[in-house]
């Protein structure tokens, strides 16, 4: 026995000594962004392999889908991985490599605009040369040429947009029409909400009658408290990324805060998306090229490719999200008049009025960190 204790003591002393020794010499910061020079994506003839990370259900990956079409036309081998489930989770996965200027093998990925901005500020993205993206800027909808997060479109190109609202199983709970309804004890344990803070919290704020543009940090924290209460009481079954579609499919929940175009992921009849009566959220996901990405030529070619109106029409047909490209509505109406009028793809102005736009929490960096941590606490459980 004495020998074992002796060993433990020696080991502990050694560790302590090492700690002191290294501490005295440790100057460098861990994390904090890649301070290297910002790269500009190089164009060229697209060949070879390319890996793209995207959200599930955002493109037709099948044999007759857009990805296959791109592969054929450009003789490029595309590995399309649907592993973006939640912006924060995806970021967490890639961050250590992005921090060192590596892209984790990806040439292009799709994240929401606020995350794209965060990544750019941290030096994780490459800049885009507009002349290399002729098709994009020829066909982009005028109102999307600039955006709040990327005023000069230096690093992000819109992929698809959508609305955050409520998916409702009309057979089981047809009366759910607002975010407030989700807190009805009648549906205890049968409701999920999103892990995306910028989607969920503004919706709560709006349901409380607070104008998102004028909300204060305290308002956000109060909304998060309301979420915590509901989570603790079991009202909210869980917080999800894209996997709320699974809960809806299996019948585990009757309503979920979710994204407007995910119909293709929900395998249950009678489940429909509704814009909440007490608020809404409009988001635009962006294509970005990470620092250190291989084969940027193919990535740029891909961006141009999906901005061809015909191709975009295919995507819109499959995905049912808001398209950033001009001229798609005419093409779709010719194919299928009903589709051409689908409000989820071509939302009329009334639908998107008053919607929040995935805003950052108010305040400076410290305030934002506080709000983010409070929210993360709630959703982790």
């Amino acid at each position: 026995m004495k020998a074992a204790t002796r060993t433990l003591v020696v080991a502990a002393l050694m560790l302590a000594a090492a700690l002191v020794a290294a501490a005295c010499g440790s100057e460098d910061t861990i994390g904090g962004g890649n301070q290297g020079e910002v790269q500009v994506a190089k164009a060229g003839k697209p060949t070879g392999d390319i890996t793209i990370s995207n959200w599930p259900g955002y493109i037709d990956p099948g044999k007759n889908g857009t990805v296959a079409e791109f592969e054929d036309k450009f003789d490029v081998n595309v590995s399309h991985i649907e592993d973006v489930n939640d912006n924060v989770q995806f970021f967490g996965k890639l961050q250590p490599q992005l921090e060192q200027g590596q892209s984790g093998g990806r040439s292009l990925f799709v994240v929401t605009d606020w995350m794209a901005k965060q990544m750019y500020d941290l030096g994780y993205l490459q800049e885009l040369n507009h002349p290399d993206l002729k098709t994009v800027f020829d066909n982009i909808r005028p109102e999307l040429e600039k955006s709040e997060s990327d005023p000069q479109r230096k690093f992000s190109i819109p992929w698809q947009g959508g609305l955050t609202g409520i998916w409702v199983d009309t057979k089981k709970a047809p009366e759910i029409k607002s975010v407030d309804d989700l807190f009805d004890p009648k549906y205890k344990g049968k409701v999920t909400m999103l892990t995306e803070m910028r989607d969920t919290v503004p919706l709560i704020l709006q349901s409380q009658g607070i104008d998102v543009d004028e909300a204060t940090k305290e308002d956000w924290l109060a909304a998060i408290d309301r979420l915590k209460e509901a989570a603790d009481s079991g009202q909210i079954r869980r917080f999800t990324g894209n996997e709320y579609t699974e809960d809806l499919t299996s019948g585990n929940v009757v309503a979920a805060i979710g994204w407007s175009g995910d119909a293709s992921l929900i395998g249950r009849e009678g489940v429909e998306w509704r814009k909440p009566t007490d608020g809404c959220d409009l988001f635009f996901d962006q294509m970005v090229i990470p620092a250190g990405a291989p084969n940027t030529a193919a990535a740029l070619a891909f961006m141009n490719f999906v901005y061809r109106p015909e191709v975009q029409a295919d995507i819109a047909e499959y995905v049912n999200y808001v398209t950033p490209v001009e001229g798609v509505q005419e093409i779709l109406t010719k194919r299928d008049p009903e589709l051409g009028q689908n409000p989820l793809i071509f939302p009329p102005a009334g639908l998107t009025k008053g919607c929040s736009g995935d805003p950052d929490p108010p305040g400076d960096a410290k305030d934002q960190q506080e709000v983010t941590e409070a929210f993360q606490d709630v959703i982790t459980g």
Binding site: G32, Q89, G92, A231, D232
Partner: protein, 292 residues
């Protein structure tokens, strides 16, 4: 000449040991130090973390996560007890089984290991889904309220933990029951002990080391588990493992993550030391007979 050979001979074990010892030291022991180093930094993910002896990280992470720590104790404790209750009779039965059946039974016990841990747990998600026949039966038996569910409750997580770590409980107990000399039990009975007394006074104490080993081998990994809570649990079932995972992989708040896992490791280390005192390393290691 002899002296040279003896010295070389005495060095042999060290040569044999070296690769493993170095590998384990480098990649098991040393990382613990780095985890400690990270735990003493402060900052935010956006601006980076600098080292500044931030001892406050430890009590801070304890404060912010007490609920999950307590919950982890509770879940893994209940799961361990349940596993013990299930495992002991089963191990006994296997030890009593005939030569022909025993290997098959043992095989059945380790068979779950042959499917991926995740897939096993997801299978339970299927079995316990709200609309599954199993849950319907539980409802008719009134074990589950009519409008209640099994998934996304503490019960589901505990059930998952129990199932997944059951083999860790069965095998050590079986190993020690197998060594039990039944003649001792017979002797006790000859001395007018009842079956129950024989069990309590003879069988149980002799198989105690197996029980202790099983309990530790079940409780410790269960305590740090997060997969069961992630797949079978809901908003209220997060364990300390879920917290650590979220902090390390999603929020990238390395200092708090490291402090929290250090805390968890300290709690567990105390238990391991207690175990070593109880059973002694020699007993668990079973060294070769030294009288050779």
């Amino acid at each position: 000449m002899t002296r040279g050979v003896t010295i070389r001979r005495r060095l042999i074990p060290y040569w044999l040991l070296a690769p493993g010892a170095i590998w384990l030291a480098l990649f098991f022991v040393v990382p613990m130090y780095f985890m400690g180093e990270l735990a003493l930094r402060s900052g935010t993910p956006a601006i980076g973390f600098t080292f500044d002896w931030a001892w406050s990280n430890f009590p801070d992470s304890l404060d912010g996560n007490t609920e999950q720590i307590v919950r982890s104790f509770y879940y893994s404790g209940v799961a361990t007890v349940l596993a013990l209750l299930i495992a002991y009779p089963l191990a006994y039965a296997i030890a009593q089984a005939s030569e022909r059946w025993r290997p098959l039974l043992l095989f059945a016990v380790i068979a779950p290991f042959f499917t991926t841990y995740l897939i096993r747990t997801i299978a339970w998600k299927t079995i316990l889904a709200d609309s599954s026949p199993v849950v319907d039966v539980l409802r008719t038996l009134a074990l589950v309220p009519d409008d209640g569910r099994v998934l996304a409750t503490s019960g589901a997580v505990i059930a998952g933990l129990t199932y997944n770590f059951l083999p860790f409980m069965i095998l050590p107990i079986y190993a020690s029951i197998e060594r039990l000399d039944m003649r001792l039990v017979e002797a006790a009975k000859d001395l007018y002990a009842s079956s129950r007394q024989a069990f309590l006074r003879v069988t149980l104490p002799i198989t105690a080391p197996g029980i202790v080993a099983g309990v530790l081998l079940t409780f410790i990994p269960a305590f740090g588990d997060y997969v069961n809570a992630a797949i079978l649990g809901g908003t209220n079932q997060a364990m300390i493992g879920n917290r650590i995972q979220s902090l390390y992989l999603f929020q990238r708040d390395y200092p708090e993550a490291a402090a929290l896992s250090f805390l968890m490791m300290a709690l567990i280390l105390i238990m391991v030391v207690v175990y070593i005192r109880l059973a002694g390393t020699e007993a668990s290691m079973g060294e070769e007979d030294e009288g050779r």
